[in-house]
Amino acid sequence: MTAWIKSLYIGLILLLLVAPIVVVAGVSLNEAQSLRFPPQDLSLRWYGALFREPDWLVPLRNSLVIAATSSLLAVLVALPLALHVWSRRGWLSRGLYTLGVAPFMLPPVISALGFLVFWVSLGMYGQMAATIVSHGVFLVTLPVVTISLGLNAIDPALIEAARTMGAARGQVLRTVILPLIVPYILSGYAFAFVLSLNEYIIAYMVAGFTVETLPIKIFNSLRYGYTPIMGVVSVLFILLAVAVFGMIGRFGNLPRLMGSERVRDQ
């Protein structure tokens, strides 16, 4: 197959993926409260409205707080998990890894219902803490995968060298291993953060009526009438995702992070 057919195919699919986003971005620029594309009377008033209307400001704050704390929680669980799996073998390692990957592999509605009955039993249904912990567990898979990749990329000779020079286990961990995997920890956090912002079903099942997040707010507005603010939120989320993954791609090796082993350098 010639190169241009390949590029054409890739370009066509990317076009299809980007098309809905372009339309939504256009819609968010409408002056009037209507969804028209191409937009009429360009204006940025709905971008300001997102940060002024309490209706949208509260979900925005909820979403940010939940994403920031639940991703931190996910990393705090994933880091010891990945370290243990990496340095030791045996049933505990295998079991922990399966447990770490499972939440993200199951249809989320199942985990969502599990969390719902769990928090109902504890009497914490409807609290923000319930959403945070649920998201933390659900998203633990992402830092587990990125940190494991980072650990497996460490040259064993480095650790051997540190040991030969007389470093104790804790010293090796602190001064050799952890600094080497910091980028992988950060990208795991970033992945989890972006996905938590966008997550709907778990947040809805665990505390949907009391702790409104942005996706829940958008869905509720979908039922009761469209406003360009929905387009604004979508655009901001997309920009944030592109910024986060673009940074990872700029400063890290994204193909390697996604599991490619042979990548031609430009």
Binding site: K6, S7, Y9, I10, I13, L14, L17, P20, V24, L35, R36, F37, V77, L81, L83, W86, S87, R88, L92, L96, L99, P103, M105, L106, P107, P108, I110, S111, L113, G114, F115, V117, F118, S121, G136, I159, R163, R169, G170, N198, E199, Y200, I201, M205, I216, F219, L222, G231, V233, S234, I238, A241, G249, P255, M258, G259, S260, V263, D265, Q266
Partner: protein, 283 residues
Amino acid sequence: MSAPQKATPGWLAAIPALALGIFFIVPFAIMLSVSVAHRVPGGFFEPGFELASYIRFLSAFFGSILVTSITISAAAAAICVTLAFPFTVFLAGMGRRAQTWILVILLSVLSLSEVIIGFSLSTLLSKTAGVGNLLAWLGILETSRAFTPSLFALLTGMCYLGFPYAVLVLYPPVSRLDPELGEAARTMGASPLRTFFGVTLPLLRAPVLGALVLVFVFTLGVYLLPQVLGRPQHWTLSVHITDQAIFQSNLPFAAAMAVLLLVVTLMLVGLTLLLGRDAGARQ
């Protein structure tokens, strides 16, 4: 893995074991017990052991929901992987810079909320802001019309959701594939198409199956798209699980449906692992 033995203290394992044990295993155990609990109409449920909720699922109504869910998800998985396979093969052959940018786009689309995807597509397929306008302007349609809600819109949404996952599952094995194999086939006189179907595709049988199952399982859990883009008869099992749990306050029945969905999922994942092992052993 070439990790040095015991580079970390053993107690480290206790943190994730406790966290995931309490907040992941226990919820599943409770869900299992709720699925056999006795429903108190109007209230919650009381502990007990009865299979009423499972038996209720065997009715024709819920049976047809299961069939609908499985059919729609299977169709979405087939379309996704058919589109994603050549995409991934071409992608893996590009330079690092191009690959990085395409991966950034894929990851951004992947992270998009189902709500946002539903909203975007319903806008794109709507009468006032979408392709209807474009087609009317081009003269293909007489006047603009909406393409949503419909089965077509729902399948489009599910494919949009599943496509990045399919590519990212296929990407590692595809990029590890030795390019010399394809070159060898070409040198021996095989046409590009023949190389593709005779060499590349058979070598990647297990990952392709894996991608199919992943997208299938993933779209089986889709909750919002059927409501935004589909008609009520396209509502999938996930929609009904949530409906029962939140709006009908029938937690035992919702839990029973979730357990059944879990069983179907695990069986499929097990089957894929088995098939993958077979394919691996034969190579």
